[in-house]
């Protein structure tokens, strides 16, 4: 568990966020893209079987360009270690001493990795993982083999994680089933303060009173269609929120033919897309300024999107379009938050087991499972979360061929 950060001296200057060096080759970004999903994969040569690190455009053994990204076992042996006590890079200078190790992966390659505090001296077996660093770039991190643990026990390695422990979290909709599950999960995970947004307070939802009674929770009026209201809340809380979870959404189940006008679709766009824009304008600048605010800095922004953001699901066609718009905007937000070291996490659930998906057959994602996966994603520091089997299957089909997926979904929705 991440240790409780010391209280900050309020008369000292807040440090400006710094990030580790960023430029990476296209091949290296392939490694980052997989680390963003929590996968550790390296290139294996289809010609000679050589596994290589760092990634490159061709095989270092035989020059073949037929390289296949292949999941690694994560088992490795620490060969040598050192502790960095001097660095010319401003990011590392602030974080010295920094432990590095040379290790050999089970699959062959020898690589330099960030070394967890608790890794024994060499020779020793280690667990090797692919993580995103503060700049959002994929790096290797070695952990002690025998500990199930939790990287965040090493404060240096908190740089690779955004866990909610001792942090102040805003959940933009605390009323929905997903919102209530998120609030409960964050409270159980040790969040210090949770603000739960409440739109249209006169509409009552089962369970919302219980959420408000949790000691960490403050219910606040928040309606993503209300620019003035968001500005006011942003001014009040923007400088305090460490993690913002935007789960507010309007979800209607209609395509084009069934919708009769743009009114419902407009409300989806108002909340799902423009709501994100309004939030980002109200909270983004203050959070960026607090990217390095001691141990309790602003650290993550989560958008609960939908797997339908990847490809339109015609029975929920206008909803899909609003989530696709939100995904695009979230990419912009990620680019703008990157310099501050604030991780923007996109969550792509398949159908959630909530009222608007009532006619859909299982499997549906339980709100509690989604909440657990989101908290886990924060701890793991990943950037793209596909919770549940349906979402993972869609992702595979989409990666395989987006056009084929489009045709499949059209056929599936005719059958439905």
């Amino acid at each position: 568990m991440r240790a409780k950060p010391p209280l900050k001296n309020p008369i000292l200057r807040t440090r400006q966020p710094l990030t580790p060096p960023m430029p990476r080759s296209r091949a290296a970004l392939g490694f980052t893209a997989r680390a963003a999903e929590g996968l550790f994969a390296l290139q294996r040569c289809e010609n000679c079987g050589h596994v290589q690190y760092p990634p490159a455009d061709s095989c270092r053994a035989c020059l073949s360009e037929a390289l296949l990204w292949t999941p690694m076992s994560g088992r490795g042996e620490l060969l040598a270690h050192t502790t960095l006590r001097h660095s010319n890079d401003p990011f590392y200078r602030e974080r010295l001493p920094w432990r590095l190790g040379l290790l050999r992966l089970e699959e062959g390659p020898v690589a330099v990795a960030h070394l967890h505090r608790d890794c024994p001296p060499p020779p020793a077996a280690v667990r090797v993982t692919a993580k995103l660093d503060k700049a959002g770039q994929g790096v290797l991190v070695a952990l002690p083999e025998d500990e199930l643990g939790d990287m965040s026990a090493d404060p240096r390695h908190g740089e690779f994680s955004c866990g909610p422990e001792h942090r102040k979290v805003l959940v933009t909709d605390g009323k929905s089933q997903v919102g209530q599950a998120l609030v409960r999960e964050l409270a159980a995970a040790g969040a210090a303060v949770i603000w739960a947004g409440l739109a249209e307070p006169w509409k009552r939802y089962a369970g919302q009173d219980a959420i408000g009674k949790l000691p960490q929770v403050t219910v606040i009026p928040l309606d993503l269609t209300d620019e003035r209201g968001i500005k006011r809340i942003g001014a009040e809380l923007g400088g305090r929120v460490d993690i913002l979870i935007n789960n507010a959404e309007v979800h209607r189940t209609q395509g084009i033919a069934g919708s009769g006008g743009a009114e419902q679709a407009r409300r989806e766009m108002e909340v799902n897309y423009l709501g994100l824009l309004r939030l980002a304008q109200a909270f983004g600048p203050a959070m960026r300024a607090r990217g390095a605010d001691g141990g309790a800095s602003a650290t993550a922004w989560i958008n609960v999107l939908s797997v339908y953001a990847l490809s339109n699901y015609p029975p929920q066609g206008t909803y899909s379009a609003s989530k696709a718009a939100a995904l695009s905007l979230s990419q912009c937000l990620r680019a703008e938050m990157q310099d501050a070291g604030i991780r923007v996490v996109n969550v792509f659930p398949g159908p959630i087991d909530e009222e608007w998906n009532q006619p859909l057959p299982p499997p549906k994602l339980a709100p509690e499972r989604l909440a657990r996966d989101i908290v886990e994603a924060l701890r793991d520091g990943i950037e793209d979360l596909f919770p549940g089997e349906v979402a993972k299957e869609w992702l595979e089909r989409w990666k395989d061929n987006p056009k084929v997926l489009e045709r499949e979904l059209a056929l599936e929705s005719r059958a439905a």
């Binding site: 006169w202 509409k203 009026p221 269609t225 209300d226 620019e227 209607r252 009114e263 409300r267």
Partner: protein, 266 residues
């Protein structure tokens, strides 16, 4: 200027006739009508800045606002209801302007609504009111005063929902039939979110005030404010809706002219 109008202005200037604003301020938190979420929804009031003496407009401040025809203090035209859809001049743009100035009868149901949020105003109650004051004249507004406007700062209390829906006062079927068939009123006004009661979907017909009033070409006023400042008889209402083509209703500023109370507190 005619003598009459000059006298009127003089009376207003002298405070003998009060101008009373019966309108709530439009704010983003003012609640809108609640319907099952799968149905089309009335937009609440929203305002987004165009510029505020800044790079978006260096010397000026202005906003775009959005809202429904039925948001905040608003006017209902006959075309709003299916029963009034075939009538002539049934939309806000065709309301005869002479009807935008009319007398008001105010029926005080404040104590009843405090006792029972589902209070229904009856014909008997109106006849009792007439016995005390005067016969309700043809072409007059009948305003149901309930004190509900005092709840406007608290959307939860104003809407007053529980598991079976909304609990707000309104007229019963007999009351509406009496006003339409036997008194030929101009329309019916309330302090609540609708001219019908919160549980009116369970009356027969559902929403009788909408059904019969609009079916007979009468109007509605909702979310009225400051009715406690009006006398039971003697006030005149100014109710000019926006001239929206084929509009079913319109937010509006409702003003009343009311004789100053003779023995009011100095």
């Amino acid at each position: 200027m005619s003598g009459l109008l000059r006298e009127l202005l003089a009376a207003i200037a002298a405070g003998k006739i009060k101008v009373i604003d019966l309108t709530h301020t439009l704010t983003p938190s003012f609640p809108q009508l609640g319907l099952p979420p799968e149905m089309g929804q009335a937009l609440p009031y929203r305002s987004e800045e165009i510029s505020r003496y800044d790079s978006r407009g260096p010397a000026w401040y202005w906003n775009n606002f959005t809202l429904c025809e039925h948001t905040g203090t608003h006017f209902d035209a006959p075309i709003h209801w299916v029963s009034g859809r075939e009538l002539p001049n049934n939309s806000v743009d065709t309301v005869p302007p002479e009807q935008m100035i009319a007398p008001a009868c105010v029926v005080d149901c404040t104590e009843d609504a405090e006792r029972d949020a589902d209070f229904l105003l009856t014909r008997e109650r109106l006849e009792q009111w007439e016995a005390e004051h005067d016969r309700i004249p043809a072409g007059a507004w009948v305003l149901m005063r309930t004190g509900w406007a005092r709840r406007a700062d608290d959307p939860v209390a104003f809407q007053n929902y529980d598991e079976i829906g909304q609990h707000t006062p309104g007229p019963d079927v007999g009351c509406v039939r009496f006003l339409v068939d036997e008194r030929d009123v101009l329309g019916f006004g309330t302090e609540t979110i609708g001219t019908d009661s919160g549980q009116a979907q369970r009356l027969n017909p559902p929403y009788p005030c909408h059904y019969y009033m609009h079916g007979a070409g009468k109007y509605g006023l909702q979310c009225l404010n400051n009715l406690d400042q009006l006398p039971p008889v003697g006030a005149i209402l100014f109710t000019a809706p926006l001239k929206l083509e084929e509009g079913s209703g319109s937010p509006l500023r409702v003003l009343a002219l009311s004789p100053a109370r003779r023995h009011s507190v100095p």
